[in-house]
Every structure is written in C-alpha cells, then in structure tokens.
Subunit: 475 residues, 2 copies
C-alpha cells in the first residue's frame, strides 16, 4: 500500500454518549465520567461525543442531574479535545418541533457551555428542518469562536435511496453552510461494500469531511468502517471496548489496531487506551451484574439485514401482533411495511418514522382493509407536518385518510410562533440559570420535577421520602 497517500483516520469517541445510550439506557452518571476525562483528553480523539441525544432527558429524568452542569464539567476537563453533541434538528433534544427562537437559543447555550461540534439530523432528511440549527451554529461560532455544524443524514435503504440521492444531499449540505457531513446509520443497515460505494461517490461531489456513524447491531459495523476508510471516509465513530459492539459502536482499540502501520494509522496510543478501558471495564461488569446491561444487546441481530428494516422496528411489530393474538400475521405485516413506506413517500426507517410506518402496517393487515384506520402520526406525516419526503406520497392514501384537509408544503416551523417568552413565563419561579428555560422547553414536566428536586436538595430537605415514593432516582 506504499503507493497510497498517508491519510490518518480520525476517531470520534462515543463512550460518554451513544455507547451508554445504546447499551445501558443512557444511565452513565457524570460523577463516573469525570475521573477518566483527563486521560481521555490526552488521547488525541478528533472529538468526544458526550452530550445530546437521550442524555439530556436521562440526566434530568433518571439521574437527577443538571445536563448543563454535566456539560460544563466535561468542558472543564477536556482542555484539548473537541466536544460533540447530537441534535435532532427542529426537535432539538425533545419530541416535538420547536419554534426557531428555541432552536437558536439552545444552540447558543450549547456552544457557550462547551460544545464544539453539533451533529444535526432530521428523521426525514428534510434539510429545511436542519437549516435553523446550522444557521444558529454558524452565527454563534462567529461570536464565540467555537462551534461547528455537522449535518447528519439518516442512512436508510429503499428504492429512493440511490447514490444519486446521497450525492445530491451531500451537495446541498455543502451549500447550506455545514462544516462536515455524517452518514448516520442507526440500525447497522450499511454493509461494507455498499459503504465503500457510498463514501466514494460522496467524496467525488463534496470537499466537506465525511464522518461515518454506525452500530454493531447487525454484525457488519467494523467491516463497514474498514471499507469506508479505504474509500476515503475521514472520521469514524467508535466506543471504548467495554462499551462497544452489540447495539453500540465498534471498539476504538480494535479500529486503532486494525489501521496501525497502514496509511490510515490513527496514531493513537494503545497503552493509553488500555488504561482508559481498564477504567470502564469494571463498570461494564457492574452493569452486567445489576442487569442494566442485558447480554442480549451484545449479540448479532441479523434480521436487520435480512428484512432491511431496523431491528427495533421488528421487535415493536412482534409486540403489537402478540397483543392482538395475531403473531401468525408476521410475514403479512413484513410485506405491508414497504408498501406503507411507499405510500408515505418512502421516508428513512428511523425513529419516529419507523414506528409510524410499522404501526400503520400492523393496522392495515389486522383490520383487513388498508388505511381503514390511520394513526394520528400517519395523518401528520400525510399532512406534511414532519417535512418533505424523498418521494411524493400516495394521493389515493391522502384522499382516503385526510380527505379535504389542507396539506403543508412549507417548513413546519414556519407556522410556529416564537416560544421563548411564553416558556420563560411558565417556569420563572424555578429559574436559577439561563439554561433552565431550555430544560423546561424540552421536557416541561421532567424539568419541573428536577427543579423541585434541586431546590429540595439545596434546602437540605430529607429526600428519603421522595425517593421511596416514586423510585425515580436510580443511579
């Protein structure tokens, strides 16, 4: 390989975010993270993903931690390493679309509290749902001297998802002012040789760095990285070995060792990585012992590749069929899924579209007539509220499910009034820092419970009673 130019592969470490979100329900507490930060900071990672995704919700809800406080503490420890977060486009880190002023303020506060790279995605890959977050990042980058917008495309399979689709998206992302592109394969659907084709094609149309994010769920992830690296990918996402594999990412040390002595050599120090792994390993063992880490998530779920749908979607479907005593309709629903997906404009099969398509397919099969009943979410998709799909939706299905209703073709958030004043008003009695309104905006009830807990702690109220009552503070 001496004729190949040297191209060290960069590593984003996910052990502080996606790895524990994927394996142990996002339950790693800040106090467990902090003692290892200093060593992690010396590794030379491209970035450490440590915030956003489900960590915000889990911190407030289960760990009774202020997520902003976690971010500031991590920033304080990581003096030389870029910190990265996952951001759900217009949904921020929550479960509904927010007005632009909330998106804007959340981006500002994320950067000012310590985030360097904001990875922004949308479940339909509708770039309009990402534009505000990208713009905000660029705006605060100019002010704070820190902040990069990475646009992540949800990887999915299907007729609409041709190389032309991905390359045209790459060009649009470059045009919209993003600093880098991520291919985000939540379900492990991207197989090795397809990854090579995809990365090669994208590299031909954009100068932006391309990062690949996948999960080991279907068993191909490390090979997918290897072929993507050979095809020119710039950064890969990996997790320290004790929290790697299964539904998490390939192991950092394994990928580092694989490329050692090749043109892709990461240059990372295995001895330092081994010390870091030694820190996480006993915690893994503890999680195995207390059941937080279920060995089932460590296996290979090949059905993902077989049916080209995410594993979680299949297990949801099985549960729904079981509830209806209709497990014998499994293969009928499996055949209905791609049809419903086509009806809805062939969206990526990622949360929440995967659940919407799967549930509607179950309805269509069990009721004996397609769209005899449609879920609230199916209707919202058909009305265009989630955004624009890659293909047009079925007019026949639109006419049947939402006859005569107005459909949206604009960006949904354009219909939303600014919310910040209203939110500030609702939560002002609890406010101790500017960021509290954002916690409240995302999870009003959970954040309020947290604010009460925080205040009680500050007033040194005995919380034993509260703990016993709702059992809501597992650490």
């Amino acid at each position: 390989m001496s004729e190949i130019e040297k191209k060290p592969i960069k590593i984003t470490e996910t052990v502080l975010r996606d790895a524990h979100q994927s394996l142990i329900a996002t339950r790693m507490p800040t106090e467990f993270m902090l003692p290892i930060v200093d060593k992690m900071d010396k590794v030379g990672y491209h970035s450490v993903e440590c915030w956003g995704g489900a960590t915000f919700d889990a911190s407030l809800r289960f760990l009774k931690e202020d997520p902003w406080d976690r971010l500031r503490k991590l920033r304080d420890g990581f003096k030389n390493t870029k910190l990265q977060m996952l951001f759900r486009g217009q949904n921020i880190l929550g479960y509904r679309p927010y007005a632009d002023d909330v998106v804007d303020y959340f981006v500002q506060k994320s950067i000012s509290n310590g985030i360097d790279i904001i990875r922004i995605f949308d479940c339909l890959n509708d770039l309009r749902n990402l534009q505000e977050a990208v713009n905000a990042t660029n705006k605060f980058k100019a002010q704070e001297g820190r902040g990069e917008a990475q646009v992540a495309l949800a990887y999915t399979l299907g007729d609409a998802y041709t190389l032309e689709y991905w390359t045209s998206m790459a060009k649009k992302i470059e045009e919209m002012g993003a600093d880098s592109i991520c291919i985000k394969d939540m379900a492990g659907l991207l197989v090795p040789y397809k990854a090579a084709e995809l990365i090669k094609a994208m590299k031909e149309v954009t100068k932006l760095p391309i990062q690949l994010h996948t999960h080991y769920t279907s068993g191909v992830a490390s090979m997918t990285y290897l072929k993507a690296v050979e095809a020119g990918v710039d950064v890969i996402d990996t997790a320290m070995s004790p929290f790697a594999m299964g539904t998490s990412q390939p192991a950092t040390e394994v990928m580092v060792e694989t490329f050692k002595g090749t043109p892709y050599d990461t240059g990372l120090d295995q001895n330092l990585l081994a010390e870091i792994a030694d820190y996480f390993r006993p915690y893994r063992d503890e999680c195995l012992a207390n059941g937080l880490l279920n060995p089932k998530v460590m296996g290979v779920d090949i059905k993902t590749l077989l049916y080209q749908v995410p594993g979680g979607m299949l297990s949801n479907m099985v549960s729904q069929l079981k509830e209806q005593n209709a497990e014998d309709r499994y293969y009928d629903v499996l055949k209905e899924i791609p049809k419903v997906r086509k009806d809805l404009g062939e969206p990526p099969l990622v949360t929440p579209s995967s659940q919407i398509v799967g549930t509607q397919a179950v309805f269509n099969v069990l009721l004996g007539e397609r769209y005899k009943m449609a879920t609230k979410e199916t209707k919202a998709v058909l009305r265009g509220e989630y955004g624009q799909t890659v293909k047009p939706m079925s007019q026949e299905v639109i006419d049947k499910v939402i006859p005569g209703e107005e459909r949206i073709t604009c960006r949904y958030a354009d219909l939303l009034d600014n919310e910040m004043d209203k939110l500030e008003g609702e939560m002002k009695e609890w406010k101790q820092q500017d960021e509290d309104v954002l916690s409240y905006a995302l999870f009003p009830q959970v954040a309020t419970d947290f604010f009460k807990y925080r205040q009680a702690q500050q007033e040194k109220v005995d919380m034993t009673q509260a703990d016993t009552k709702n059992g809501a503070y597992p650490v």
Copy 2:
C-alpha cells in the same frame, strides 16, 4: 469490482464444534443437534465442523455420550455436506503423544464413521508431528473413497514468524501430500491487513486451497476475513449468529451478507440460514440464563492485540501471580514472556506451549533468578520431546536446566512402541464396538467411567444414585 473475477467464498460452519466449544464449554448435546441437521444439510456449506477438538472428551466426560455414535448420527443426517473434524496431530484428541498405530487407527475409524475432512495441527507447527495423520488419511481415502487431509498451521506472532516462514511452510505442506492448508488463529492475533499480506504471499507459492480460521476474541475477526477474502483465501470458518462473536467465530449470516452481490458472493440462502438461527437462538438464551454462556466471553479482549499474546495466557498469568500475592510483577512477567519464548526456540503461543512459556516466565520473575527452577514441561520442550521449534533453543538455558541430558532431534513418536495391542488388552471387558478402544486410548479413566455408565444404562440400573453421588452428568 467488475474487473475482478468471480470467486465465491466457501464457508465452513462451526456451530456444531468450535462455536459451542468456545462459548459454552463444549456442552451442546447430540440430541439438540440432530433436529436441525436436515436444514443445515441444504445450505451448501463447504463443510460442517462437527467433531474432534474437545467434543470427544466432553461427550464422554460431561454429556455421557458416545462420540462415535454422535458422528454416525450426524453422518446419517448430513447426506450432502462434508463433515470436518479437528485433530491434534500425534496427540489425536488427547493430551499425550500416541504411537503411530493409534493415530493410524483413529484416522481410519474417523473416516469410516463419517468424517470427510481431517484438520490436523501441531502446537509447534512441527510437520513431522502431522505426517502420520496425513499419511493415514491419504491411505484410507484410497480405501474408503472419502477423506481429505487439511494441515493447519497454528498462527502466532514473533520475530521468527515472517512471511518467509509461512510460505516455506505452505510449500512443505503441499509436498507432504495434504489436500488443503488452514491458518488457524486460535487467539485472534491476525489483524486484517496482515491477513491480506499473509494470504497473498501463501497463494503465490501454493496451489492448495487456503482456509482461514480465527476467533472474534480480539474484535478484528470479521475484518480479518474480509481482507483475507480480498487477498484470495478460499474458505472461511464462521458460526451461526446465536453462537458467533466473542471467543467464537464471526457470524455466518454476517459474512454471507457482506459478500452478497460482490465477486465473493457465497450464494448461500439467507432465509434458510435465518431458519437455522431461529433454532439455535432459544438455546443461546437458555445458556445465558443457566450461566453456561457467560456474557464476559462475548466482549472484546483487546489485550491479545496489545501484548501479542493470547488472552487466555494473560488470565492464567494473572491467576498465578494472584496466588503468590505478586500481582505487582505483572509487567515484569509480561517482559519476561518473549525472553522465555526465545529461549525455547520461539514456539507458537498456543496451548500447550503458551502455558509452558507463561508459567516459566512467572517462575523466572518470582524466584529472582531465571531458570532457578524449571517446570517438567519446560524440560520436555528443551529435550525436544514436543518437537522441533522454529528457532534453535538457547544453549545456555539447556545447559542450566537439563545439564548433560540427552536431547531428541528425531520425531518423538519414532521412540514410541506400537500401543494398540496393549490398549485392547486393557479395556477388552468393556468393548462393544471397535471404536471403544480408541475412546479408551485417549481418555482411559473417563472412557472407562463412560463404559460403566453405558453398561448400567443397558442393564436398566437406576442411575439416580450415581448421578447424585458424583454429579458428573450435567446435560
């Protein structure tokens, strides 16, 4: 890749041998295997590894099964698929070197009871220790019309193990009359780009098919297969997904899917494989629930790659140091290991040489003087009883450990008298089939216990008492 010639990769399925040997202590019983044989026979595997290795011992000792009976039943079910066994050279399936007449008879009976491919290896890669088994296979192949000798090289790292070493071995294997070559990497030491170099170099010097066998222990196995396949390897060893990964092999379905649509497409039917996986999956869950499958073996043990020694060797070392309250000498021993290995002629670090080197290194460090004490096994290695090592042994160490003793340069088995008559005499009271003498030859005590159990069963003696007494019949 259209310019690359089509070259379908062949698959050896290990779920009936190495996978359960590696993950659940070889405890899969014949009665669990038989119902799925018919489906497995339709897959089109290159071969199914289903016998030999530790299965012979475990059948007799723990499962109270006649291993010969298992073989005949599997042969009966697999009408279209080659059956493969693992054979430890002159040690057959036991733990001492046997005279040639025993090796010869074992090979004959293996083939006549159903084996097609005998994979033969020696822990020192001393081909003289394999020659008799290869000759016997070729002899009975001529008689029975069935039987192939595959010579397996134990893969290891070290100064002596250059590409020149491996290619010269490949040439010798071709010359000695083997039908194929296997690179057998028990510890997962072979990393992807080194695998490509190795396979490419070997393919240049031999026309024999080359098969690669590795374990997922260090986390690189699937990538290693991928690069080996691109470099021209002919067959890879994989295990059905419920018994894949961790200390076992990469998953069959994952490798099949990886190569689908490429020049290496295996052509195997994923739907059929899915049905087979569905059969094994509940058994995996059962093994997880009853503790036979420890989730710890499912993880990544990166230390193997870091220290270039097998994981099992490191954990043995830690136990030995713990017993001596000398855990602080870990790194001293780690440094001593390559020195001892050099002293002993740099043998492959595989069982039993890995234990011999590791234990001697512990002695050397703890006693404060190198070779102040030497184990029985170190002495035997120095006397040449295990065979010829790839490099000369240290004369200084020889003089210190076995001063004045005679050293062997011939093949050890040349010093052994034929044993069959003696063995027949010892066990004749239990003999019910010709093969019983071979069971007795390998495990005299265990086989005798089994013969007693068998007879008691036949006489319909109530075994409840016996079970309770020694607890030796877990299934």
